[in-house]
């Protein structure tokens, strides 16, 4: 035990660092630090907006996507992001806050995006998730659906899907 402590002293002398003594104050957590870093590296473009209901809590925020091309052009789609203290070991939890007609998003708002579940890795960052979310609106994936009805519709009658989707999403806009 004494040996370990003298190793510590040597390390400290070598670094010639300032003493770490001080009052006990809460430290910024590893998850917060990683999110702070991730946020500075996000590219939003002009189709996406982020908002922070409580600016001091960067672990909870919203993302709205307004696609400028594809079948979902003209709509605004809102998501909540919840990052827990085990980030980046755990992926962020993303939910759609409105009802949407989309093969990969169910009516409860659950999102089926591979990097939000089975393919999440701690080396991925929030930007990767946001890019993935954007992609869902440009290229809805009918072969791996969460909303079976919407997927079937998209697969068989792309035009009908467009109309149906428009109608459903329009309804929702009115409901809001």
């Amino acid at each position: 035990m004494l040996k370990i402590w003298s190793m510590k002293q040597q390390q400290q002398q070598a670094e010639n660092a300032e003493g770490a003594a001080g009052k006990k104050k809460k430290k910024v957590t590893a998850a917060q630090l990683r999110v702070q870093k991730d946020l500075t590296e996000i590219t939003l473009g002009n189709t996406m907006k982020m908002d922070f209901p409580n600016p001091d809590d960067i672990l909870n925020f919203t993302l709205s996507i307004e696609p400028d091309e594809g079948m979902y052009k003209g709509g605004i789609f809102n998501f909540t992001f919840n990052v827990n203290q085990n980030f980046p070991h755990d992926p962020p939890k993303v939910k759609c806050t409105q009802k949407i007609y989309h093969p990969n998003i169910d009516l409860e708002g659950n999102v089926c995006l591979n990097i939000l579940r089975e393919d999440w890795k701690p080396v991925l960052n929030l930007n990767a998730v946001i890019v993935g979310m954007q992609f869902l609106f440009l290229e809805p994936n009918a072969s791996d659906p969460l909303n079976k009805e919407a997927a079937e519709d998209l697969r068989t009658t792309r035009e009908h899907f467009k109309k149906n989707g428009d109608a459903v999403n329009q309804d929702l806009k009115l409901a809001d």
Binding site: K25, T29, A30, K49, P55, N86, P88, N110
Partner: protein, 426 residues
Amino acid sequence: MNPEPTFATNEQSRWKSLYNVLSKPGPFADEDWVPGQDTIDALESSKILVIGAGGLGCEILKNLALSGFKDIHVIDMDTIDISNLNRQFLFRQADIGKPKAEVAAAFVQKRVKGVTITPYVGKIQDKDEDYYMQFKIIICGLDSIEARRWINSTLISMVDMEDPESLKPLIDGGTEGFKGQARVILPTLSSCIECQLDMHAPRPAVPLCTIATIPRQPQHCIEWAHQIAWQEKRKDDTFDSDDMEHISWVYNAAHERAQQFHIHGVTFQMTQGVVKNIIPAIASTNAVIAASTTSEVLKIATSCNPYLNNYMMYAGEEGVYTYTFEAEKKADCPVCGNLARKMDVDPNMTLGDFIESLGEKAESQLKKPSMRTEEKTLYQRFPPQLEERTRPNLSLKLKELIEDGQEIAVSDSAYTIDFRFRLNFN
């Protein structure tokens, strides 16, 4: 006729081999090490904390008590389940439902004369630094990465140059099936849990779409019941994996779904396993890893032999392979990499001026920093919505935003690492 040895001499002879090891220098012992009574006293007076009283914890408690430690504490929040009994040998059928920490402590204390084991039933997060400060060494047998990260960062933040006793070696063991690992962490000196976080692959998850549309395995049906059906039908109840009624509900829903898809094999036990994320445990793997970690505690507490430096992996699923290596400290580890540097600041300076000064100071040279304290976002450059919300802080004085001695964390897109400063008002 030879007299039968009395009980008392038996008790003393129990430690004979141990005392031999601690009373004679071996070829690998440190030159400065003084064997003998002082070392034996050091062992017996060392207060050890065991985190977790499950598969590894039972082994660890037994091993520590049989290695001569006299003052052991154990902390665990769980209660005993029938499925524990095959390997968690300190528990009996009559103990089902009782707290693991209490039952394990009482059992070992009764079995090994002279040892005191103090249980605490609860979460490690319930305890503060003062609690952890009383121990000499902390040994973990945990099943969650979250808990490991918590104790790791707590022990690292406790290290205080003025007080040698504040550096608490952390011995961590972990098993999964036939695989295991043992490691020695000397907070701030050696590689920590967070340094190797990338190494722990998250548990493979089933794609949500498979669960929602085309289940193929009984586990998929259980996941569906747990994640989708529960949310639909019982939105207002928070799911509790220890609540039997909740598990039964999920089991029934899963069973019904399995029948629809002609899938066999959904059982109550499997339901419990899936929703509680139970890791397959093999008794012997636990024994191997617990033996390895507890002998490190003995070596570190007495200095009798060199300790593990610093990572031993055990792979028993295909023959047996073990490998010991030194995991390296990560320079940009968010927990141990850059501990807070002290920085003297004028409390009347505005945050904007402070940020500008960071760009000029030689030790930081941060041109575009974003920064926060644990509870407050001081200034965040991006995304624009957050920049706008935190911009008013720039004209506030430091003393209006932070307390004297508070730590801030600074990120700058120009650097891959982050910086921590402890701001002292002058």
